[in-house]
Symmetry: D2
Subunit: 365 residues, 4 copies
Amino acid sequence: MAGNSFGQVFKITTFGESHGAAIGVIIDGCPPNIPLDLEFIQLELDKRKPGQSKITTQRKESDSCQILSGIFEGKSTGTPIAIIIPNEDQKSKDYDHNKDIFRPSHADFTYQAKYGIRDHRGGGRSSARETAARVAAGAIAKLFLNQYGIEVLAHVSSVGKLNASEVNISSAQDFIEKRESNLVRCADIAIADEMIELIDSVRKDGDTIGGKITCTIKNCPVGLGEPVFDKLHADLGKAMLSINAVHGFDYGSGFEGSEMRGSQHNDTFFTDEKRIVKTTSNYAGGILGGISSGMDINFRVAFKPVATIMTTQETVNVAGEASEIKGKGRHDPCVVPRAVAIVEAMAALVIADHLLRNNMYQTLK
Amino acid sequence: MAGNSFGQVFKITTFGESHGAAIGVIIDGCPPNIPLDLEFIQLELDKRKPGQSKITTQRKESDSCQILSGIFEGKSTGTPIAIIIPNEDQKSKDYDHNKDIFRPSHADFTYQAKYGIRDHRGGGRSSARETAARVAAGAIAKLFLNQYGIEVLAHVSSVGKLNASEVNISSAQDFIEKRESNLVRCADIAIADEMIELIDSVRKDGDTIGGKITCTIKNCPVGLGEPVFDKLHADLGKAMLSINAVHGFDYGSGFEGSEMRGSQHNDTFFTDEKRIVKTTSNYAGGILGGISSGMDINFRVAFKPVATIMTTQETVNVAGEASEIKGKGRHDPCVVPRAVAIVEAMAALVIADHLLRNNMYQTLK
Amino acid sequence: MAGNSFGQVFKITTFGESHGAAIGVIIDGCPPNIPLDLEFIQLELDKRKPGQSKITTQRKESDSCQILSGIFEGKSTGTPIAIIIPNEDQKSKDYDHNKDIFRPSHADFTYQAKYGIRDHRGGGRSSARETAARVAAGAIAKLFLNQYGIEVLAHVSSVGKLNASEVNISSAQDFIEKRESNLVRCADIAIADEMIELIDSVRKDGDTIGGKITCTIKNCPVGLGEPVFDKLHADLGKAMLSINAVHGFDYGSGFEGSEMRGSQHNDTFFTDEKRIVKTTSNYAGGILGGISSGMDINFRVAFKPVATIMTTQETVNVAGEASEIKGKGRHDPCVVPRAVAIVEAMAALVIADHLLRNNMYQTLK
Amino acid sequence: MAGNSFGQVFKITTFGESHGAAIGVIIDGCPPNIPLDLEFIQLELDKRKPGQSKITTQRKESDSCQILSGIFEGKSTGTPIAIIIPNEDQKSKDYDHNKDIFRPSHADFTYQAKYGIRDHRGGGRSSARETAARVAAGAIAKLFLNQYGIEVLAHVSSVGKLNASEVNISSAQDFIEKRESNLVRCADIAIADEMIELIDSVRKDGDTIGGKITCTIKNCPVGLGEPVFDKLHADLGKAMLSINAVHGFDYGSGFEGSEMRGSQHNDTFFTDEKRIVKTTSNYAGGILGGISSGMDINFRVAFKPVATIMTTQETVNVAGEASEIKGKGRHDPCVVPRAVAIVEAMAALVIADHLLRNNMYQTLK
């Protein structure tokens, strides 16, 4: 009820504050006999970790994870998988000035009001550090989805007003290579440098900037998603909106679809040479009535600019008195390059959960 | 697991197909001693019901509801409230042609694939008729929220490319009066007629068109929303995305916020004359770190155009063979005027649920 | 949260007061394509209905049920199945004297204290009438279990101090025939008449008496039950303890097992002629580590005597003042003959739920 | 879904195998501002830990726990509390002989059948070692209940056929002193020595023996428990039945109540000098209609004898072939002395959960 769990069957519960002993996650419901490739999990974490390039925060954390349970001779056993990631390089002193003051557009004020107590060091539980636990869990979801050939592929599709062109994904490998070829993680290489320059210039101003991530899920089988409330896109939407700094989600035709006519928007069914039912267009974003149709699933996630900026801002302190604050510490000028791993992780968790949920009924169809 | 329930504490489960005996809802977790004003519930249903104006479907259904349980001498008792809405004016014959064919951009194909069986009459469970049950439940949530002075206020903010101006809500009454003064339910009266004309012209073409609804929640107390996954906006997003035809959701600065800089986007705290902490701007949309801040909560919901159009479309039949289909029956040219009641209902359900969830901890703050 | 739902996947939510318009249930998660035999559902309800014999309450209710949704051409569709049972023969006047007084060993006092309001007519929501909804849902669970050959077989194993001998179940049909051959529903025919006489004599005293029900589940596949908290017997125990008047549950060796030594209690494994692993004894009650072993599952349920007696008792009224009360109306002298149907229904619901839960993992074993 | 979580609001998820790196628990939903007394938590763990006396297993584990999150300056913050207990003194070699064989009355066979893989070392996840995590979580629940003066008090009420007399609890302190004055943890000092001798003699035989634990909850407020399925005793029953080796649960009059008449069994209400409604007897066990009445809550839990015995037993191996096994390692001859802490922990968790659930509605009563 306190909201630290996600998923119904492939279910995760995360814990940990940014400046506590460790953060971590328990995965309950991972099927048995999935090979748990520790190297792969670490590689996923590395994509999210701080300090990886000049356009991310310069905080250095190795984010190395340890699996405490649920694994036997390299495979999942069907019992809970607990993963912990010890906290390092905490400069808690950097946050002493936050003790008695509410940072603008942070959660300091609302946590204090809700709980009457808060761990003010580095945002405590509201810190985006929590998302490292999601990435570790998402990596295990991906290893499960691998068994079915399902690929979850995200990249940065905009920074500020710089928009990438639509990327045609010929193969997962090609897409990932392109994306990882540049610091901003945009698969449209033509615009990546411009994005990097923009972030760098924003950083030099002591400012921050927002951006968008686009995600495609390939090879998702037909039938995932439960009517009425647990539509596949509703669960994807909740998953994305639960990520720090996300302010918007749309899928398929999305917000633009609201400007279209039915005659334009409807996707025409046809049967391909392998006798598989497909559609000529995909305004539906791979989901019909909340259930995956077999076409590519695609959606977009909008991130606001990071709230910590290096200029002086007016605010109030815990006594409600007018006060001033200036960002200290080491922060990201733009969150999207590191958030690609988080978006993929959350999407993988949703698909893994719905894959298992759908499994239950298949014996009697 | 099968996805027909919503909410954790103030929890609803809906049932019913468009052409079955009845649809309905059970509300489990409604607090005791709430006056259940049946007239109000019916008025809310009337805003959603078909046949209410020339720009909605001409299907006539009274959508009159009956409360079967959970009420005693006009008040809730804390036990489950069951509401049924009998189905009427079903022209099931209108749907005979759907039996063996998949309507483009409908859920026929995915339901058949998932379950191996479907009630093809009028979309069955995937019909938007299911949302009448949500509106009835949402009306009870509103009656609960009334005890706290919380107001949930939505209106049509765009039809196709026609956008309303931002509406300054001086009072709930004034807002509702303006909105209900026109058939399209837009509180910006200046553009309402244009919207109506557009819908009417689209209807004459046998076509449909999308639109957007904007919703504001006023007087929401500080503290609603649970970290990490059950952030208030994540639950609002899931609620909205679970409504038929919704393709997008954003809140506060939303998608536009992704183009902004932190120095623009941050909301400055101040203390007002009543010693209440507020912010000068509200790009946060009334939610900080997933928890309500006491500022107005606002969000937008994008609806795709209705899939049933009156022109001939190519598709496949259940055998996968190329086929043609032409919309029959009585359908909406644009869903947003009737969907205003649904958006408000789902928002009220989310707030009611989080109000109770937050209550649990307040004794020990 | 408010506790009117049961099950995780094959999930029911019941509603309704004894003297409201109707009671009922929604089943969410019933797999598609199960033949829904309405006659069978009614027969199950008839076993629980009041007025069926001289040793049950003389209240007459037909308890005829109606399915409102989730059925198409005689089969389940995978969507929620809503069933209502209208209330009849309510003599609410019989309960006027309960308005301001707390009946001893009833829930009047605790409901009033918890909710500050209660429907005093016939116990409202706390009435055992609620269990009719469970029996209807349980009948559908049985129809599902039929597909797997699983049988749930309960009977009255004691009334007061009269204990039936252990019954060897040669076949489900034989067991049911024996049980239904007498009014008390005891499959040990040798003692049934004595039990009936005892109940009849207690009834003539204006008194009531307790009893026990023993249940066996045959042909349950290996693997049902989830560690650690959702052990199969833990869920069976909760299911039984949630039935009105139940004060105890044990399985396998049960309470007697606590007096035994390990060397007596351990069940020896062997492999039978069909290469199936079995045990020579079954003190484990068909469940090892919370997971079904393939042996018969068996458990016992203890019911206290019905609280409504026809003699004058001291109590307090709602103002806390000393008062007197004498049972009116038509009540059961002993609840177990009618409760056999309820025990079977709840057991069937638990097994159906765990069968589906176990299904999820089977693809990857 | 996979069953490693317990509770709705004060919710725990446990993880860990007996021979993995660590076991542990996450508590989600603990209210903020509860003083987390680490010494108290450790003392509770010490009551459960192995090696504490001659009548328990001689395995030595310090069972020292570490809190990783959810604590700030000695108090809970309302965020998830993660606790880990590293595994020590694992003699995994002791279990090599279990790899290919199914121990009688253990979960080896059912885990293998369900998952197709198992951690055979020491029972893996099915080991009672998992209950240490419950005791740690239960200690925090007790610290929460302390704020309300609620006491959870269990002791060993039988070993084999040796039954303690009913203990009149004058004060929690007195009860605990008596119980802790002897190795078997029986508050009826008169019989404790006999129990200890019995266990010791059974141990010398290489055998094991069952027993019962009786638990009383004092000062529980009126109103805890949710109708219909989440009755307080149903949740207590599930909690107890989820503990390893438990085969039975009853409360109040329990199984004996099934032999009584209503005229004996009904508890008479009266109002005491403080204007509090009480009952003269307490056959109801402090719970009416599933809701706490304010009287003492009491229940009994039956434990089967430990399955690991030091004599040779027949069984089958993983290939289904007849085989023999003899217990090795260090095991408990009787589980109840150590299980007192587990019963109290699970009871405290149930009460904490229902206290918070009941809180939600109290604003509107």
